[in-house]
């Protein structure tokens, strides 16, 4: 199982590799895509300040360390333009070629016309289909295989049972976001992580965890009604290792880098413990992880084990923290 972590510079790449990443993922150097939202919630890849030379050096550095580079080309809503002069699709092709020239190992895409374009550029490219496709059934695996996709990231909305079921007979290699996930299906979510203030976008953290007010008849209820950002996969790692999951990914190019390092170390530790053969269950793994990283207990205290909502019907009402006002 490959562990991918985000890295936006050679220095960050050095640190995540030291923390145990087998692969990094990164966006490219561009003026057009620097403002383009890479997910539906408005974040951009614009934090990456690498020069073209530095990007190539980063790829070479990773390869010298036998670390894979996944190139993120999130276009979200790629369409052709009637104007040849301002054709985003042409810039998309240039952006893809830039990454290929630098020697990236795979390209992560989130739109079917983007996949078809990359196939035209080079049919041998290792195309990965992003979790933004919301892949939740086996037919989707077949569909994306027919588009020459080599690896698919499953939807983080799936429960562990569903992941194992899909991976059992999968015709294609699978990946998974290991840590954190959104409340809604990511590929079709337009809930902002920002508010508009004085014509600027102000980040507000995670809107899924925020409090909302519902009014039903004469009753008003406040609470975190859409919060189900189940976060931690540690207890599920034995099942994931035994399934056909090819890689897991630490999310968050925009997240505090110290957290990325911490999460990378924990999941590396989990993979190593399971590969060592001395650990068999999620409980044993969790105990070992918490012994070495006591702060990890936070996820357990918050009951944020991934998939628990779907696996345990009794947790349904407990998880909805609401109060009548």
């Amino acid at each position: 199982m490959i562990l991918y972590s985000p890295a936006n510079s050679i220095k960050e790449a050095e640190e995540v590799i030291k923390a145990g990443a087998d692969g990094i993922y990164i966006g490219g150097v561009t003026t057009i895509y620097s403002n383009y939202p890479y997910g539906s919630n408005g974040w951009t890849v614009g934090e990456n300040k690498l020069s073209v030379r530095e990007f190539k050096e980063l790829v070479e550095f990773c390869h010298r360390n036998k670390v894979l580079v996944q190139y993120n080309v999130y276009t979200d809503c790629l369409s052709d333009s009637v104007s040849a002069k301002h054709n985003l699709a042409e810039y998309f092709s240039d952006y893809v070629k830039f990454g290929l020239d630098a020697g990236v190992d795979s390209i992560l895409l989130d739109d079917i016309s983007a996949i078809m374009r990359v196939n035209k550029i080079d049919p041998n490219v290792d195309i990965h289909a992003s979790f933004l496709f919301d892949i939740v059934n086996a037919e989707q695996l077949k569909f994306f295989k027919s588009l020459n996709v080599k690896t698919i990231e499953l939807s983080p909305q799936l429960a562990i049972k569903e992941i194992c079921e899909l991976s059992e007979n999968s015709p294609i290699s699978l990946g998974l976001i290991s840590h954190l996930n959104c409340a809604a299906y990511e590929g079709s979510c337009y809930i902002d992580h920002f508010i508009e203030d004085d014509h600027k976008m102000i980040p507000i953290g995670l809107p899924c965890k925020s409090n909302y007010r519902l009014t039903i008849d004469d009753k008003t209820v406040e609470g975190s009604f859409i919060d189900m950002t189940l976060s931690c996969s540690v207890c599920n790692m034995p099942a994931l290792i035994n399934s056909n999951i090819n890689y897991i990914k630490i999310p968050g190019r925009h997240i505090d880098f110290s957290l990325i390092l911490n999460w990378t170390m924990v999941y590396r530790e989990a993979i190593n413990l399971l590969k060592g053969g001395h650990i068999n269950t999620g409980q044993e793994l969790r105990d070992n992880i918490i012994k070495k990283y006591p702060n990890w207990n936070l996820w357990c205290r918050l009951n944020r084990k991934k998939g628990c909502l779907y696996d345990n019907e009794n947790s349904v009402s407990k998880f909805c923290m609401s109060r009548v006002i």
């Binding site: 979200d76 301002h86 016309s113 059934n137 037919e139 569909f143 299906y185 508010i195 779907y310």
Partner: protein, 272 residues
């Protein structure tokens, strides 16, 4: 232009048919539990044209959905089915009598994003339409959908998509079923309605018979970020596990069909 009425609850079938639309659509973009019973569907299908709307189909529901659609198509002869994931499209495309429509969860546009205009303003004026318009304006994508017998698409007709529709004459390539009054903000795997009522499928079927306005209050980490006009992009209306926002689009262009919600979301009233 044809008129299609999308009803939010199957008890509204009679009311909807009385309005004499070209078609009524049943089902839901977020929840399979909103499909009508097969007998009710067939009964309605004898009186008017029916479109069935499917959500993303989880793996364990796929066989049920296929059997349901096969049985419905066999009894009704023809049936339009809106699919919202490519796997369901692949599973259903060769069923006799089926006309597939690609749903709005597959046909996205960045202008549906409440703050999409702010992102687009980082670009020169001449780039903005291309960034904001619907992703369907791609010859590759249209030809791929047609390979799978997709004869139409559902899309929101907002400003930039309306401009592109005129420039492309899209409805000459594929039928366009347009929405003018609301956009989907999000689809939750786990239904806020069901959580609120502490029920699970199938017992929750009656809990989402109404729209519920969802209003942003504050961020749990920072109480200074509280609700104000500037947070309006975070408010919406819950229709089951789908969060919608109301949009007033007056960009009427030539399309094949207008889809109207019934009742309108602005009414937000109880449905019997």
């Amino acid at each position: 232009m044809e008129l299609e009425i999308r009803i939010t609850h199957n008890s509204l079938i009679d009311e909807a048919i009385a309005k004499k639309p070209y078609a009524i659509s049943l089902g839901h973009e977020g929840c399979l539990g909103r499909l009508p019973d097969l007998d009710d569907l067939v009964e309605a299908g004898k009186r008017t044209k029916i479109k069935l709307v499917l959500p993303k189909i989880l793996n364990h529901s796929m066989t049920y959905v296929e059997n349901y659609i096969r049985a419905a198509a066999a009894k009704l002869g023809t049936l339009e089915v809106t699919v919202n994931d490519f796997g369901t499209m692949l599973r259903l495309y060769d069923i006799k009598g089926i006309k597939l429509i690609a749903g709005r969860l597959l046909i996205k546009a960045f202008e549906e994003h409440p703050l999409g205009h702010l992102v687009s303003e980082r670009y020169p004026e001449e780039w903005r339409q291309n960034i904001l318009q619907s992703c369907i304006f791609s010859e590759d994508k249209i030809s791929l959908l047609k390979q799978y017998n997709v004869v139409g698409i559902e899309m929101n007709i907002f400003e930039n998509t309306a401009k592109a529709l005129q420039q492309w004459n899209l409805n000459e390539k594929i039928a366009v079923h347009g929405f003018f009054n609301q956009a989907i903000l999000a689809v939750f795997r786990y239904c806020p309605h069901a959580r609120l009522n502490e029920k699970l499928p199938p017992d929750c079927r009656c809990t989402c018979e109404r729209y519920i306005p969802l209003e942003y209050v504050n961020n749990q980490r920072d109480s200074n970020l509280t609700n104000s006009n500037s947070c309006s992009n975070l408010t919406g209306i819950l229709d089951g596990n789908v969060l919608m926002r109301e949009v007033k689009s007056d960009h009427f262009v030539k399309i094949d069909r207008q889809v109207a919600l019934y009742p309108e979301i602005s009414r937000g009233e109880r449905i019997k």
